[in-house]
Symmetry: C2
Subunit: 111 residues, 2 copies
DNA sequence: TTGACATTCAACCGAATGGTTGAATATATT
DNA sequence: AATATATTCAACCATTCGGTTGAATGTCAA
């Protein structure tokens, strides 16, 4: 289970297309910072910052070998986020519960 | 399926405990802005802004009746986010794929 | 009409984001 | 030892975020 803070960081980290692209790249195996940054138009430094956000959320792990930093994808935070979403969806309900919720709303207005 | 922009907005909106609390409140039925704001320590205006973020992400719908704005929870974005996460988790792999990924990494280093 | 209530708008603030450039640090290579 | 490479650090900038306060708007109720 994930503490609220952890969930915050995970969702925030995922709420950016650049960072999702970085994760996708890493999901197919380790890569160095420069390799990860290569496909992007932005500067290396910008990518480096994005990686930091992903590291803070523990979605990326860093392994230093000499001057090279090897980055890898960690699945745990996404697993935890998925679990939270599924539980939440269950409790908050979805389309199927629309009628039930409507009735609840109407009840609330009849004293 | 959700376009990247939509997903961004959804995840960003969910990446805040206040906003998640608001959604939880609304998941049990409609409520007016003031009612929603009542449990929070922050100002009504602050909550109003959070609601706007949720509305932008289509997680909250507004129905105006006179001076009252009735807010309700919409499940579609969360459904879409859940779907994205599940697909992504499938493609990016999880613990079970750790060995496979490790082997891929080792391959990459042997020319 | 006057006044209370529900809500937003507007301006401001401090902190965080997302980006830049330039310098610093550390490691390889020659 | 000198140079090139990999990466971060530091400073800066514009924008957004999360919050505040105060005023404006629109609606209900006496």
């Amino acid at each position: 289970m994930s503490t609220p803070r952890t969930l915050d960081r995970t969702l925030l980290a995922l709420a950016d297309p650049t960072r999702r692209a970085i994760l996708q790249r890493l999901s197919s195996g380790e890569a160095r910072v420069t390799e990860v940054a290569q496909p992007f138009k932005m500067s290396l430094n910008a990518v480096s910052k994005h990686i930091l956000v992903l590291e803070r959320a523990k979605l990326v792990q860093r392994r230093k070998v000499g001057r090279d930093h090897y980055l890898s994808y960690r699945s745990e935070p996404l697993d935890a986020a998925a679990q939270w979403i599924e539980e939440t969806r269950h409790f908050w309900g979805s389309r199927l519960d629309a009628l039930e919720k409507l009735l609840r709303d109407e009840d609330r207005n009849k004293p």
